[in-house]
């Protein structure tokens, strides 16, 4: 079973636009992580946000976390064609070390 669910499933934008994808989860968490997966490759860790944090930035990435709504969003600003990939959120429920991944958002950035 997958706790995290990303939305939308697919997103197609033009280079330079911003891309926003959302993740919803079901149980209380220790932290939430976002990963990127390029076609045919493994996952690359992007950013981790802890349950007591509300917002975090890393370069062109901005992640927010709303524990009351059990949701997180990933914003990629000024997107580039190289950002084309699938993006996954992964959560760890309290006391667990097993990360649970969502189904991912497939992002296509057109040059």
């Amino acid at each position: 079973s997958q706790q995290g669910e990303e939305d939308p499933q697919a997103l197609s934008i033009q280079e330079g636009e911003n891309a926003t994808m959302n993740c919803s989860y079901k149980t209380s968490i220790n932290n939430l992580q976002w990963y990127r997966q390029n076609s045919g490759r493994g996952l690359v860790h992007l950013i981790l946000i802890r349950s007591n944090e509300r917002e975090k930035h890393s370069g062109r990435l901005r992640v927010t976390l709303d524990t009351s709504k059990k949701s997180s969003s990933l914003l990629i600003t000024a997107s580039r064609a190289a950002d084309t990939a699938s993006y996954f959120c992964a959560t760890r429920a309290g006391g667990s070390y097993i990360p649970t991944f969502g189904r991912g958002t497939s992002l296509i950035v057109h040059p």
Partner: protein, 117 residues
């Protein structure tokens, strides 16, 4: 090498064959995870090692799946009598954290794509 490596990258097996998938984690990483990723899905947890100890194998889908990490470094995931539903990408990840990477990132290998005919 600098990252996690997996071999083979692609494996085609006839139904009923046994397969062995190898993972070389980052040197010194104590935590090692195996995941199964079906097409269009996110990775699903299979099993977790801390050094050579297999602390959790709750995600293994059947007793045909077996994993080992005898010296606390390289790990092998073995699937016996493969079935078509075993077709997926098998990902390995390692972490330096003794807490199984609870607050640390996992470093993923490129995966092995298994196709069972």
């Amino acid at each position: 090498g600098a990252g996690v490596s997996q071999s083979p990258r692609y494996k085609v097996a006839k139904r009923g064959q046994d397969v062995a998938l190898r993972c070389d984690p980052i040197s010194g990483h104590v935590s090692l995870f195996w995941y199964q990723q079906a097409l269009g899905q996110g990775p699903e947890f299979l099993t977790y090692f801390q050094n050579e100890a297999q602390l959790d194998k709750s995600g293994l889908p059947s007793d045909r799946f077996f994993a080992e990490r005898p010296e606390g470094s390289v790990s092998t995931l073995k699937i016996q009598r493969t079935q078509q539903e075993d077709s997926a990408v098998y990902l390995c990840a390692s972490s330096s954290s003794l807490l199984a990477g609870v607050n640390n990132e996992q470093f993923f290998g490129p995966g092995t794509r298994l196709t069972v005919l």
